[in-house]
């Protein structure tokens, strides 16, 4: 299957979904007005990936911040990953947040409260 690679913009994160490596990364800010439109290709890609996933899938969430409109789409993404995790791949989520950024740390904890996937919280100097 094809990889999904999108450049980041002022309002959207860069996307790097590598099928053969089992590596998914979102990086940057996610503040589009219409987040459903932006996240649809990502969710569609996961629908294809679930048919033949790698044994291990690493999800790196390196978000600087996201708007509330993106937050539901990110939840949709995690719910899809949760479904895939029930099949034949082990999914691990790495949730990156910048030093002292309690808001983003809390955002990761909010998803952890809803989603049944292993989350690792990783504090970094800069995303």
């Amino acid at each position: 299957m094809k990889d999904l690679k999108l450049e980041g913009s002022a309002k959207t994160p860069s996307v790097l979904f590598l099928a053969r490596e089992g590596k998914l990364e979102l990086k940057g800010r996610s503040i589009p007005e219409n987040s459903i439109e932006f996240y649809k290709p990502l969710l569609d890609w996961l629908d294809v990936y679930r048919t033949d996933p790698q044994e291990q899938t690493i999800v790196d969430m390196k978000l600087e911040y996201f708007n509330t409109s993106s937050s539901k789409c990110i939840l949709d993404l995690f719910k899809k990953l949760e479904d895939i995790n029930r099949g034949n791949t082990q999914i691990n989520v790495n949730w990156f947040f910048e030093e002292d950024d309690e808001d983003m740390e809390e955002a990761g904890e909010d998803y952890q409260a809803i989603i049944n996937l292993p989350f690792t919280m990783i504090e970094v100097d800069e995303i």
Binding site: A10, K11, I31, E33, N34, S35, I36, Y39, E64, Y65, N67, T68, S69, S70, S71, K72, C73, L75, E98, D100, D101, D103, E106, D110, A113, I114
Partner: protein
């Protein structure tokens, strides 16, 4: 004093609004406090008063306009540059920026369209919103204003009163519950905006509804950060 902070975009179309906004911000970028303005009806003598007011009030950015995707983009670019100049703490810069995104996107998604003639409003004003970002020694403030239908007033008022009465853990639970309730509209917004403003600002949301006609009111919101 406050009335002087209202910025007039006059009878211009949207493209020229954005253009004017950028031009004015460019021209004024050397001064510490910045404001976008096309002043049509102000006497020349009042320009210095206007400048002084903006300066004294530490206005970082203000406009009255229809909030479009392009205006939103320009505004966020400008505020990011301004915050880098005036705010040394990255943590505070991020918080102000984040909350401003929510405020602007609230205006973008929820500014209502009215039957102007029926409401006795001019077309140019009825879709417009106002935004003012300013600071004092201890905090940043974002004020917004937009028209709403009175049939939405009670619901919004109750939501805001209820949010203001919640403590941190109640706010977190309410946010998670709303995030996970499965409801969506076309843009993906789903009632999280006000919760996020209240939760991330850490302060109560000040608000007021000013009656305009029998059917509509002007909704004023103040978010305090710090």
């Amino acid at each position: 004093m406050r009335a002087k902070l209202i910025i007039y975009f006059g009878r211009t179309n949207f493209k020229s609004n954005v253009c004017l906004l950028n031009i004015f911000l460019y021209l004024l970028s050397s001064v510490r406090n910045i404001v976008a303005a096309q002043i049509n009806h102000m006497p020349l003598s009042s320009i210095y008063d206007f400048y002084s007011t903006v300066k004294e009030e530490k206005v970082i950015l203000s406009f009255k306009s229809i909030v479009t995707a392009d205006l939103l983009k320009s505004t966020l670019e400008i505020i990011e540059i301004k915050l880098k100049e005036i705010e040394p703490s990255k943590k505070i810069r991020k918080k102000v920026f984040h909350l401003l995104v929510e405020c602007l996107q609230n205006l973008y998604h929820h500014t209502e369209k009215f039957d102007f003639k029926q409401q006795n409003l001019s077309a140019e004003n009825s879709h417009s919103s106002i935004l003012i970002v300013y600071k004092n020694e201890t905090a940043y403030f974002i004020k917004t204003g937009n028209y709403i239908h009175n049939n939405k007033l009670e619901g919004l008022k109750n939501e805001l009163l209820s949010l203001n009465n919640m403590n941190d853990s109640e706010l977190r639970n309410y946010y998670i519950e709303t995030l996970n309730d499965g409801k969506r509209n076309k843009q993906g917004t789903a009632g999280l905006g006000m919760i996020d403003l209240r939760r991330k600002s850490g302060n109560k949301l000040a608000f007021q509804f000013k009656p305009i006609t029998e059917d509509i009111s002007f909704f004023c919101l103040k978010v305090t950060i710090g």
